[in-house]
Symmetry: C2
Subunit: 209 residues, 2 copies
Amino acid sequence: MARPRQALLTRQRIVEAASAMIDAEGLAALSMRRLATELGVQGPSLYNHFATKAEIVDAVAESVVAQVDVDVFTGADWRDGLRLWAKSYHAVLTAHPNIVPVLATGPGRRPAGLAMAEAVYGALIDAGWSRARATHIGALMRYLITGSALGSFALGFAADPELYARYPHLHRAHELAAHHDEVDEGAFALGLDLLITSLSDRYDQGVRR
Amino acid sequence: MARPRQALLTRQRIVEAASAMIDAEGLAALSMRRLATELGVQGPSLYNHFATKAEIVDAVAESVVAQVDVDVFTGADWRDGLRLWAKSYHAVLTAHPNIVPVLATGPGRRPAGLAMAEAVYGALIDAGWSRARATHIGALMRYLITGSALGSFALGFAADPELYARYPHLHRAHELAAHHDEVDEGAFALGLDLLITSLSDRYDQGVRR
DNA sequence: GCGTTAAAACTTACGCCGCTAGTTTATGCC
DNA sequence: GGCATAAACTAGCGGCGTAAGTTTTAACGC
């Protein structure tokens, strides 16, 4: 086959297939040949649309970050905005955990990342936080959100009770995997609540830097 | 060369070389052949000491986690213990950021991870926190620590001012990279402080679950 | 001391990887 | 209609993890 009447590939189709493959089987399972096969095409044809594999992975990361709702800041109190944004971001990353390590590199290099930084930082500045503190708060929220999405804490413990025999306090750690939803979501919710309420306390006391 | 009088390789030498290579050039740069060359040996010889590459990477992760100081909890108030442990953990990960994505998988599967979980969870339980809350707090601290180590927030912004023209609040974002130490460390310190003081408040009010 | 077994290096090779180069053919513009 | 470009193709390079089998040496039981 040479050039077809209707192009078989588009950047969007490629990104969607790559995203699905990463979600389903992980970053390491994505290869150019497998992705091409999924799209009904030979491997090197992908290079007519993206220069490198890294560009494809980057486009997937961009498409994920773009799903985060940053409109929540408009007209809202900074506390409410922060809380809603964090929940949206968390939900998006929880739906696509395998791409999270990629998001860690260069949050301010992808368009969607810049738009998000603008919204978050702008809301904090407008609320009266100092530039330095607004930066810290933005980075800190990011730490909590990506850290919690990087991998399930609860699922990191094996379900075999034998393994915990030598650790007196961990004798029920084998039950964690069964309740991983409650554990992981509970920890994130606690963290978000603690951070925002204590920031709010400082704010109300006039400590804004 | 066949079997030498003195073994050229040991598991420890392999792990040390792999760790150095990951620190210097990143996870992706570690290959069995390159690692073997570094050790003065042919690629497949490594398989006499480790069954797979993943086992080597796992051993590197274990050796990194083992550097975290978990003795800080003995005899200390839970707040002080938590703070010192978090700082130690943070310092270790900051020194070895490239291995962080590996640490995310299975914190409760490596011996050093279990020993750490035992120490942290035990200290919280002994202080009177409920089992569920102690688990949440442990997971939450982990989120903050790994999240902050996953990648520099400040270095994620390019130093080219042109890129921020469309984002009114980010007009000084190009300066972030130059102050990345203060930004990243400041954000982590703020997060640690906010979490522990607000947990402490709850604790003192008798809310321990 | 000697024969056997196991350890630790080696060489070779398989299938997969990202990617380059060159080819073919259809499309769309002058 | 001629022609540059786009989008598919095939062939192939060097590197990857790792399996298989070989060789030499060390360690151990008689």
